[in-house]
């Protein structure tokens, strides 16, 4: 069970949140075309290491959070609002991650 440090509510159980996917990707421009949207919706990396993710606090403040989580150890390195710049873990991202 993950325990997520919500910046607004404090530390809460994973069951209060809904995972909303990879936060390093952004929605393609309206005219980007089928291939770009297919990639956005269907293609997923499965990194071993740090991962930037969306978590929505549905059972709390309803704020959307960005979380840096380690996919192997589940360790959470950073939690912040959508506009904030995530703190980079010492051992870095497993691959390039936009922000």
């Amino acid at each position: 069970m993950l325990r997520i440090q919500c910046p607004w509510c404090g530390e809460r159980d994973e069951t209060e949140f809904r995972y909303r996917g990879d936060a390093s990707r952004s929605r393609p421009a309206a005219d980007a075309g089928l291939a770009a949207f297919s990639a956005y919706v269907y293609e997923r990396d499965n990194p071993r290491g740090w991962h930037l993710e969306w978590w929505l606090h549905v059972g709390g403040c309803r704020e959307l959070l960005r979380v840096v989580r380690h996919t192997l150890t589940h360790e959470i390195h950073w939690v912040g609002a959508p506009g904030e710049q995530p703190a980079l873990p010492q051992d870095g991202w497993p691959q390039d991650v936009g922000s």
Binding site: G33, L34, Y40, V41, V58, L64, H74, P82
Partner: protein, 981 residues
């Protein structure tokens, strides 16, 4: 009657309190404080079970939850409960238990023939034998195997009379698991340093190894008293930590003591969910067995268990025990039994000599150094002789003995640490793996990390506690415990011995009947990895998870592969660390507490009006205002709407208030149609897509102000739509000026539908001109409704002239009553979900049966709603050929050609000439009010092109095949004349 083998005073038993119990129909007596196992041993019963596969006679092997053999069925007020461990089951007056795996009786078991057939029942036997034909598995093999195998018989009482259980949440700075000397010392230091501590131990009393050594009594009692005096420390005996779930979350099962159970109305177990900042694992080490022929005979027991039965319960497990061991630590049992006056048959020590052997010899114990046991004489009534061989091939001898107490060394209990991702490293000095935990998770102390010896473990616990205090940024208390630690004796190290080869079965897993030969067979057949070997042989897959033989199996595998044991590793243990009753996992979330139940603001009114209710999601909704079965009451309600006027409670609809300067822009983005062009005081039907282009939800949205909209969602998707909107709003860059508020519970909403709806609503709404010109179809306005400030929407799901009235939920009854009153001249009546369904099917409106996540706007004929200009969620992927293809399942109407026949939801649509390939299926169906016979909606391949065709609707479940006519889904009033009336 204390039992013939009760030779001393036990630490836990009360000689003044006899307790009567029955085992396999025989009445016996034990003492208060006994476990079933200690009471059986006190009564001199070596045989307590038959084994799982070979039905070999088995006795009690251990004195704790690691027990592989002494599983019993307990028969009580809660029915028959299988697989209780005799070694942890507290004895109580009137306990009735029966042995397992025997037929017809424990002494004479017909299936023991399996033991003689063993050469034909190798590991993997089931996989190899019960292969073909396929049908035989379900009908023949499985019932046979289940009768022969199986673990006990379950006849539990369920339902209203089932035993209560509860779930409790605990929070602490540090969870200390295990209250042996390391755990006690650690909890004391942590508590003294001001941290909130939970100390959990599976045992009924705290102390672990200190309970078995009289020199440690004063220290143990002093520490326990010290802990009791610390306000921030909670001691939880009888509490087994079942699993580690990361981020400091642990699950634990507390078994209540009889007195506490009585105080809580018979509550037996308590599931504890613990959250802590750090964990301190002090779970100790488990004694291992040695694989040698006959190591499963009743009377063969772990040496440490014999010590526990003597110290804790005053029971001697034999009058003439032989010992087979390879460590100095195991001599504790030798010396303790000797001290209690038991003349042993001798000690067989794998090592040629050792410090402990010298100490034992000085007391007159016969020690055979450099020797092994390679056979055991005896039968179902126990051990009679032990065959001893010198390791150097020298002379053999046979010792007369009535029990054999074995010890193959000690393995740290690594299960919880492994679940937390601990690395394991091989320690040659103790011949075991020890775990290493990351400091931000916690520490491991004492025997759990291979620090053996009580004094050493106590010091290690204290050191680990100080480290945790520092990790948490606190200053550790420097107060010293004014109690001396009895010194650990110097020891000669272990000489690792895993298996003695010889004639006969040598078991590595006693619960699943896995032998060393089975492990070698797995290796020969290619299952070389320890986890593959586990699955092939089932070694370590039983309820005890191979606690006492797991590493032995790994060692046999390592030898077969020619690798060091450190390279082979050990089986990964998984949650739960011990079997858990389902009732304990369910806790209080049973029956009416299984899930929350949402009631409408007018629930009591609906109930009083005679409604039958249906659960939709969490909601309880009126289905029909009648308790009678059949369609008549439903059609009566629907007919009232079509002919005059009816009213229904639609308060379950999701309602989301959308406000802000960018509200219209945001709705344009999340809906497939346009809302920025919606005029003030108007509503519009909208569809929402997922980003993959499929339909997500539908509903009407009204514009209440220039920057103020009210979105309604389907009942089923209310929470999902809000989440969808919140996510896209907040993830958008740059952020829009929009606020979303869930107002679903704040507003009650009623639909008033039928040709007379205007007259009824007009009687309540005095400040609004409801004429068709002033308030046309899809108009929306704030209004005073029977004196209450509310909203009126002219929208229709039924296909009739209809209004939906929204009022604050607390005024629901007042408005509802006023509507009934105003509608009385027209014969108004309430209608339920069934009638609502009848009305919308006639009209061709879709619900979740059609909006099922697999349909697109094109499929449902809603493609004209997809806006041509501007971006919206799902826009690009909704244009994919695969989603717009004309041969996809499309929405159509269906009617039986023979109007007297009925339709079935789920009936498959097939062509008359090819009845095996489905072209689609019926999604919704109802008898009609306005048209003759039944009507339905269906999803049909290329459906719109097939309108006018005839197909067969087949429902094999009902043995029905009905000729069906494909029609437009808009079966009633396709011109929308009624809604615009």
């Amino acid at each position: 009657m204390r039992g013939p083998s009760r030779i001393a005073r036990g630490l836990l038993t009360d000689a003044a309190q006899p307790v009567g119990f029955r085992f396999d129909g025989r009445q016996m007596q034990g003492l208060a404080g006994d476990t079933l196992a200690s009471a059986l041993l006190a009564n001199g019963r070596p045989l307590v079970a038959r084994s799982f596969k070979y039905h070999r006679p088995r006795g009690i092997v251990s004195a704790g939850p690691e027990e592989p053999c002494a599983l019993v069925d307990v028969i009580g007020s809660q029915g028959r409960e299988p697989n209780r461990l005799a070694t942890t089951l507290a004895l109580h007056e009137g306990l009735v238990a029966e042995s397992q795996h025997r037929w017809p009786s424990l002494g004479f078991d017909l299936l023991a023939v399996n033991d003689l057939l063993a050469r034909f029942l190798p590991a993997g036997f089931y996989y190899k034998t019960f292969m073909a034909p396929g049908w035989a598995w379900e009908r023949l093999y499985e019932p046979l195997i289940r009768r022969a195998a199986g673990f006990g018989r379950l006849q539990a009482i369920v339902g209203e009379r089932a035993a209560p259980a509860e779930t409790v949440h605990d929070h602490a700075d540090v969870l200390v698991i295990g209250a042996g000397v390391a755990g006690l010392a650690a909890a004391h230091r942590l508590g003294m340093s001001g941290l909130r501590v939970i100390l959990a131990d599976q045992d009924a009393v705290l102390g672990g190894g200190a309970l078995l050594d009289v020199r440690w009594s004063a220290w143990r009692q002093g520490l326990c008293a010290g802990l009791a005096a610390l306000p921030t420390v909670r001691c939880l005996p009888r509490t087994t930590v079942l699993g580690a779930y990361g981020h400091g979350v642990f699950g634990a099962l507390e078994t209540l003591a009889p007195a506490e159970a009585a105080r809580f109305g018979g509550l037996r177990e308590r599931l504890r969910i613990m959250r802590s900042r750090r964990v301190l694992i002090a779970t100790g080490a488990l004694e291992r067995l040695i694989a040698f022929p006959g190591n499963d005979l009743p009377g063969v027991m772990l040496a440490g268990a014999a010590l526990a039965y003597l110290r804790r319960y005053g029971v001697a497990v034999g009058r003439r025990p032989a010992f087979f061991l390879n460590t100095d630590e195991a001599y504790e049992s030798v010396l303790a039994l000797r001290g209690a006056g038991i003349e042993g048959a001798g000690v067989i020590d794998v090592r040629a000599n050792s410090l402990a052997a010298e100490r034992a010899r000085a007391l007159g114990v016969e020690v055979h150094g450099g020797a092994v046991v390679d056979g055991v004489g005896g039968g179902r009534e126990g051990v009679r002789a032990v065959r001893v061989a010198q390791r150097d091939g020298g002379h053999r001898r046979e010792l007369k003995a009535d029990s054999l107490l074995i010890s193959g060394g000690y393995s740290p209990a690594t299960a919880l640490a492994s679940q937390l991702g601990a690395g394991l490293s091989w320690q040659e000095a103790i011949a075991a793996f020890i775990p290493d935990l990351a400091p931000h998770i916690g520490r491991i102390a004492g025997a759990a990390r291979g620090v053996f010896g009580l004094a050493a473990a106590a010091c290690d616990g204290d050191t680990a506690a100080r480290a945790i205090v520092a990790d948490l940024g606190r200053a550790a208390s420097t107060a010293e415990v004014a109690l001396e630690l009895p010194p650990d004796p110097p020891v000669t190290p272990i000489d690792a011995l895993w298996e003695v080869r010889g004639r006969g079965k040598a078991f590595v897993d006693l619960q699943h009947d896995v032998t060393a030969a089975d492990v070698r067979l797995a290796c020969r057949e290619g299952y070389e990895h320890v986890e593959h070997m586990k699955r092939y042989t089932t070694h370590g897959m039983a309820g005890d998870q191979g606690r006492i033989g797991g590493l032995v199996g790994s060692a046999v595998l390592a030898q077969a592969r020619g690798l060091p044991l450190s390279a082979v590793g050990q089986i990964k243990p998984r949650p739960y660390t011990q079997p858990v009753p389902f009732a304990a996992l369910a806790g209080g979330e049973v029956r009416e507490h299984f899930k929350p139940r949402r009631r409408l603001p007018l629930h009591d009114w609906h109930e009083a009006a005679g409604a039958s209710f249906v659960s939709t999601g969490l909601w309880l909704r009126p289905l029909v205002y009648s308790r009678a079965a059949g369609w008549d009451p439903v059609l009566h309600e629907a007919r009232t709407v079509r002919r005059s006027v009816g009213m229904t409670d639609v308060s379950t609809l999701g309602k989301i208030d959308v406000q802000g300067a960018d509200a219209a822009r945001f709705l344009d983005f999340v809906y497939a149609n346009t809302f920025s062009t919606l005029a003030l005081g108007r509503a519009r039907y909208g569809i929402m897509l997922r980003e993959d282009g499929m339909l997500f939800d539908d509903g009407t949205t009204a514009r209440l102000g220039p920057e103020h909209f009210l979105v309604t969602t389907t009942t089923a998707n209310a929470a999902a739509v809000l989440e969808h909107l919140e996510f896209h709003l907040q993830a958008m860059c740059p952020p829009l000026d929009v606020l979303l508020t869930d107002v679903g519970d704040q507003w009650a909403q009623f639909a008033v539908a039928g040709p007379h709806a205007r007259q009824v609503v007009a009687a309540l709404v005095t400040d609004l001109d409801l004429s068709n010109v002033a308030f046309p179809f899809m108009a929306a306005a704030a209004a005073t409704i029977a004196g209450i400030a509310g909203r009126v929407f002219r929208i229709s799901f039924s296909g009739e002239l209809a209004y939906e009235l929204a009022i604050p939920a607390s005024h629901a009854l007042q408005t509802w009553s006023a509507l009934l009153e105003a509608g009385r001249p027209f014969g108004i009546g309430p209608y339920g979900l069934d009638a609502l369904n009848t009305l919308r099917i006639e009209k061709g409106h879709v619900t979740s049966a059609e909006l099922n996540g697999n349909t697109s706007a094109h499929d449902l004929g809603l493609q004209r709603l997809l806006k041509q200009r501007g971006d919206f969620i799902g826009r690009t992927l909704a244009q994919r050929a695969g989603i717009t293809a004309p041969d996809r399942l499309q929405l159509v109407g269906v009617r039986p050609v023979d109007r007297a026949r009925r339709l079935r939801n789920g009936a498959q649509l097939v062509a008359a000439h090819s009845r095996t390939s489905s072209l689609g299926y019926v999604t919704s169906s109802t008898p009609s009010v306005e048209l003759e016979g039944w009507l339905g909606l269906a999803l049909l391949a290329g459906g719109r092109r097939r309108i006018g065709e005839r197909l067969i609707g087949t429902s094999p479940m009902h043995d029905e095949a009905t000729e069906i006519e494909i029609v437009s889904p808009h079966m009633l009033d396709p011109e929308n004349a009624r809604v615009r009336a």
